[in-house]
Subunit: 188 residues, 2 copies
Amino acid sequence: MARWQPDAPGRLAAAALDLFEERGYENTTVIGIAERAGLTKSTFFRHFPDKREVLFGESAMTGLLAGAIAAAPAAAGPLEAVAHALDVLGREVFADDRREFSARRQAVLEANPELREREARKRIGLVDAMTEALEHRGVPGRTARVAAKLGALAWEIAHDEWIATNGEDFASLVRQVLAEVREVSAAC
Amino acid sequence: MARWQPDAPGRLAAAALDLFEERGYENTTVIGIAERAGLTKSTFFRHFPDKREVLFGESAMTGLLAGAIAAAPAAAGPLEAVAHALDVLGREVFADDRREFSARRQAVLEANPELREREARKRIGLVDAMTEALEHRGVPGRTARVAAKLGALAWEIAHDEWIATNGEDFASLVRQVLAEVREVSAAC
């Protein structure tokens, strides 16, 4: 009989990250991750299909972004709606107490081709979700795709800077990168 | 005694693409590729380390882009220098007689995770090369990275549109996407 486990996905992700660092991704098993988290294998499989997925909370993030784009003020242009969604992401996901976890996660990803490939697929999925959410606001196809990809560009640079430094929060780094995009493209 | 083979890399890439389509990537061997191209295995290995590399002319493309950015007019801003490099790419690589090959290559990549991962790494390498070439022009680090990533964004969308349609050339699609970037980011 499964008891409810508070934040089981978060505990499993933290345990997986520990083990990927200690033993390497290849040498880590689902049972090992569950044990380290103080949970059972079946709890693991209620949340993730395999060890590869444990660092990728993709569906939650997709829902968060699509919801925030839908909820952006009606007067907001496409990139403003995306920036609004990245503000929400900064509050809900990339908050300051997550910085160290994110930096360690990034280092594990960079060392493992299988995880890098998974991350690349996740990004494509998130860009597609943002594009679709913009199209629901009536933004034409190519414009929606450009705005979603600009959001991903700002996200990626801001995330790298956020995990490398301390002090500045994710959302303000996103705004700085978008200001840079505006300046650079205005001069072309 | 090896004779000089005109455009051996191009013939090997064309043969590999045929076989990847016919038999699948997994079932294709280096010997099979060389035979189909009418060349020897040792000619293959003079140009590529393994079958995975045969669709990725990365070092030539890196040199082309870095050279074109260096050669852009001194007065050109960072994104204009990148656009100049993409014009050269459109003439030298993505010319109209290459459209069908590019469309087939893209389909093979999409069907194969190993090749997708290789393509993602190639893109990172090309963005890094463009960033570095801009820094050599005196562009500050973050601005250089933003301009290089905007170039990659325009390249990716223009390439998708170029292989899907006929008529418009690669360079003019790039310019259209960059104009869209300017409009979208000005309104944010």
